[in-house]
């Protein structure tokens, strides 16, 4: 079948093999001659290692650590920053920090030996929360002030001048908690030297990241390593950089033992010792006029980065770029701080820093409106940014912003206006609404300056076409979409297009599968290649075409000052949620979820629909039941029975709408959308819930026990926000 209408759904190529269980994930590879491995980790959040007591290791078992790194090698994982050590050496900075890797042929024996390893520490006082990090509890351990990274953005008239003449200046702090990815397939990887190269199999998002990150450990070139991605059972950002943390020690173990070595995490290990979404704290200071209209908004954005910076500065930047939400305020300032704590380093999670600040600004806007007895929608509507509007980085919005059209769809479907009027605060029922966006692809000139994506298309004699790039399938549907894009242009059946899981030796580096960039950037490169191939396809037997990313002219960006066009295409969203609260138990029932999204032209209706459903539900979980506490550096919830993600019974069927807004530089007009759909449901849910109970909610998650507590002791919705000092 040729795909004439790009939006028309096709069958996913992996659907049947995933349904009948025949597809192989990392844990399904037998690899009988490989050694099993287990990471030996720090059990304290901060201190020095006095001694490692190993049991007598039988023949064939080996403990590998920093000491085994060969001359010329470096004890580091080269992510975006290079500060995350492959192995703790001398001191430890968080619970779970890798100290060594134990490997051997029998899994049960290995487990037994592992239990017998004893490590003596000299424990030091640790900092766990953002506040403790800022207060340098236990003494600063990063940069003298525990600030890993910072940035500042300003727009319009100086906010301090506006504050001086405003009718009122209010202050509010909005906080969000940790979130665990809970990809259903736990982390797993294997490494073995085959010929002259180290060959990895890994469940991962970014095979090229692994190569680059771990090569310096042996002092070898990335090209001396081959990474083959295996079918990946969910990732959501949790397998963007984190696989490096397994693969570094695996590489050294393979080097030292000369054997193949493999790791498969169990669930408890995966929750306890993996990266999470950054907890955040946003402190707003907002100038208002007599009616409660906004004159200026200032914010300080704090992200709990954990012990190592790794990718977090980029996460913080995205957070700050999104703290103005979908709004254009006359005067704006934000400062972001990545705070060092003795916790597992935080990392990518769907939305990459944007969900925290979007939740914060949406919630703060609601509270301003309610303080003046206004409907939040009415206040928010006054500030919607439009095409040509000036963004927080003093660039402009390039595309048409269809929020009014999207809002209309959601209002009609949800009956928001009537419900907002009729459900009185505290009546036990509430409806809430949120607006959000997501800048597509890497920030600013990142795509052209850093990523420089390359893509290759090859035509074979028999008419088949093969696509080569590093983009991974992790559930989002990209391995169906990309062949669809090529087939659509070439007007050939999709079955004629081959696209395999990437192997770094076979494909050009097209950049990571992250930042909602795959369809928008790599899909576009594919479309371009297919267009170039179209004429030749009919006349030539065999040929190859390479395309490379080119940044559209006229949208400058300065990475040193963070000024200019941070993104040239955004996804946009509107979400409404209706809830009912049991007055006796605080239990919340969600009655309806409505959304509308602009992700350009839909690249495949069913795939987009599935992404929307899943993203919205992850956001609802983040807002409600997904409580993850860190006590003295240890995560308290370590299993799926303690860490509660949504089940099929928790939320009603969603109603999803889209607007058609083709994007000039996307394949058939498509933009990124995988993260966008996560970004707004939490704020809509909390807005609805706070109206239903008549109480202000300024932090998430908000599970039943907290709802109960707020009903009894919370601050009323109409109470005044604190005056700023």
């Amino acid at each position: 079948m040729t795909t004439d209408d790009i939006s028309k759904s096709v069958r996913r190529i992996d659907a049947v093999s995933k349904s009948n269980g025949s597809i192989k994930y990392m844990c399904d590879y037998e690899l009988p001659d490989y050694l099993w491995a287990r990471l030996v980790r720090s059990s304290i959040p901060r201190g020095t290692i006095r001694e490692i007591h190993l049991p007598d290791l039988p023949e064939g078992y080996r403990f590998v650590s920093a000491r085994d790194i060969p001359a010329g090698g470096q004890n580091q994982l080269s992510m975006i920053a290079n500060d995350w050590r492959c192995f703790a050496d001398g001191d430890v900075r968080y619970v779970g920090e890798t100290i060594g890797i134990l490997c051997g042929p029998d899994k049960t024996v290995l487990e037994d030996l592992y239990e017998k390893i004893k490590i003596d520490y000299e424990e030091a006082e640790c900092a766990v929360t953002i506040d403790e990090g800022l207060a340098c509890k236990g003494g600063a351990f990063v940069n003298g002030d525990n600030i890993h990274c910072r940035l500042k953005l300003e727009k319009g008239e100086n906010v301090d001048d506006v504050f001086a003449r405003a009718d009122k200046v209010v202050e509010e702090t909005v906080e969000t908690g940790y979130q665990e990815h809970v990809y259903l397939e736990t982390n797993a990887a294997a490494c073995k030297k085959i010929g002259s190269k180290y060959q990895f199999l890994a469940s991962c998002q970014c095979p090229f990241y692994i190569r680059k990150s771990v090569a310096p450990i042996l002092g070898i070139k990335p090209e001396d390593i081959v990474v083959q991605q295996t079918t990946t059972g969910g990732a959501f950002g949790g397998k963007e950089h984190f696989p490096d943390v397994l693969c570094g020690p695996l590489l050294l173990a393979a080097y030292v033992t000369g054997r193949g070595v493999k790791i498969v995490f169990d669930r408890e290990e995966d929750i306890e010792f993996s990266v999470k979404r950054h907890p955040s704290k946003v402190v707003f200071k907002t100038a208002l006029d007599r009616n409660g209209d906004i004159l200026a908004m200032d914010s300080k954005v704090y992200y709990n980065v954990g012990a190592y910076l790794a990718s977090s500065f980029v996460v913080l930047q995205r957070g700050c770029f999104h703290v103005a939400g979908c709004y254009e305020f006359p005067s704006f300032r934000t400062e972001g701080f990545g705070v060092a704590t003795n916790t597992f380093p935080s990392c990518a999670f769907r939305g990459f820093g944007a969900p925290q600040t979007l939740f914060a600004v949406e919630t703060h806007m609601c509270h301003i409106a309610e303080m003046y007895g206004r409907d939040p929608l009415e206040l928010k509507s006054k500030y919607f940014i439009k095409q040509g509007g000036v963004t927080s980085t003093n660039g402009r919005v390039v595309e048409r912003v269809m929020i009014p059209e999207m809002l209309e769809q959601v209002l009609v479907a949800s009956d928001y206006c009537r419900k907002a009027r009729e459900y009185k605060p505290g009546s036990g029922r509430g409806i809430g609404i949120s607006f959000y966006n997501h800048g597509g692809a890497f920030t600013g000139n990142g795509e052209s300056a850093i990523i420089k994506a390359r893509f290759r298309l090859k035509k074979y004699k028999d008419g088949h076409v093969e696509l080569f790039c590093g983009q991974t399938e992790m559930g989002q549907g990209f391995h169906t979409i990309l062949p669809k894009i090529a087939a659509h242009v070439l007007e050939i059946p999709r079955e004629m297009v081959i696209f395999d899981d990437p192997n770094t030796d076979r494909v050009p580096d097209s950049g990571p599968t992250a930042a909602s960039r795959s369809t928008m950037i790599v899909g576009y490169l594919c479309e371009k290649a297919a267009k170039l191939a179209k004429e030749r396809y009919k006349t030539e037997d065999e040929f190859e075409i390479e395309t490379q990313y080119e940044h559209p002219e006229g949208y400058p960006w300065d990475q040193s000052s963070f000024q200019g066009y941070a993104y040239i295409g955004y996804g946009w969203g509107v979400c409404a949620v209706e809830v009912e609260v049991d007055p006796c138990t605080g239990e919340v029932t969600t009655l309806g979820v409505w959304s509308s999204h602009d992700c350009g032209r839909l690249i495949d209706e069913l795939i987009v629909h599935g992404q929307t459903n899943g993203g919205i539900m992850q956001g609802l979980g983040w807002a409600s039941t997904e409580v993850l506490d860190n006590v003295k550096g240890h995560f308290k919830q370590t299993s799926i029975s303690d860490y509660i993600i949504p089940t099929s019974m928790d939320y009603p069927k969603q109603e999803c709408f889209y607007v058609d807004n083709p994007y000039q530089w996307g394949p058939s007009g498509a933009k990124g959308m995988g993260e966008l759909v996560f970004n707004g449901s939490a704020a809509a849910y909390i807005d609805a819930l706070s109206r239903a109970i008549g109480k202000r909610i300024s932090s998430i998650p908000c599970p039943t026990e907290r709802v109960m507590d707020l009903m009894l002791h919370g601050e009323g919705l109409d109470s005044a926000l604190n005056a700023a000092h």
Partner: protein
């Protein structure tokens, strides 16, 4: 303490000599190569490992091998080879039920088990039927729709 345990696996008689306290999940995966039986949590919470034991859905991550002695086990491999199971698989593929896929074999087992008992389920019945199976990707809506599709398409199959 090894013992020979015999059971029916996907319609075939099999036997194995092992510690009867070994996890049934490991035996199915490692000894019989039933890799469609996925391990998502190891504590009976996620449903990824779901199989049918004498027609009842159970989680073999919590079941000792000994409990299978003399019983009948169907895994997703066996189920998807039946006309009813294939009907579920095809409906999942057409209905957009599948994303990362790791929960999906368990979901197929749950859907099959539900439709066998209740060929004409309501949305509520379906949501209840898969409530022991966690999915982190899909938000469940398209899985529910796909199960409805399987019920519709397989009308006669399920009523047999």
């Amino acid at each position: 303490m090894e013992k020979t345990i015999s059971f029916k696996l996907n319609g075939r008689d099999v036997s194995i000599t092992r510690n009867p306290l070994s996890r049934l999940l490991d035996v199915l995966r490692d000894d019989f190569g039933m890799h469609g039986v996925k391990e998502g949590c190891s504590e009976g919470e996620c449903g990824a490992c779901s199989i049918l034991l004498n027609g009842r859905m159970v989680t073999p991550c919590l079941i000792p091998l000994g409990a299978a002695d003399g019983q009948e086990i169907m895994t997703v491999e066996g189920i998807s080879a039946t006309p009813e199971g294939d009907c579920v698989v095809q409906a999942f593929a057409d209905g957009g039920a599948v994303q990362c896929g790791f929960c999906i074999p368990g979901m197929v087992v749950a859907a099959y088990s539900l439709l066998k008992k209740n060929p004409d389920p309501t949305d509520e019945d379906i949501r209840l039927g898969i409530s022991g199976n966690l999915c982190r990707c899909t938000g469940y809506d398209l899985i529910v729709e796909s199960i409805k599709l399987a019920a519709r398409r397989g009308r006669d199959l399920w009523k047999k």
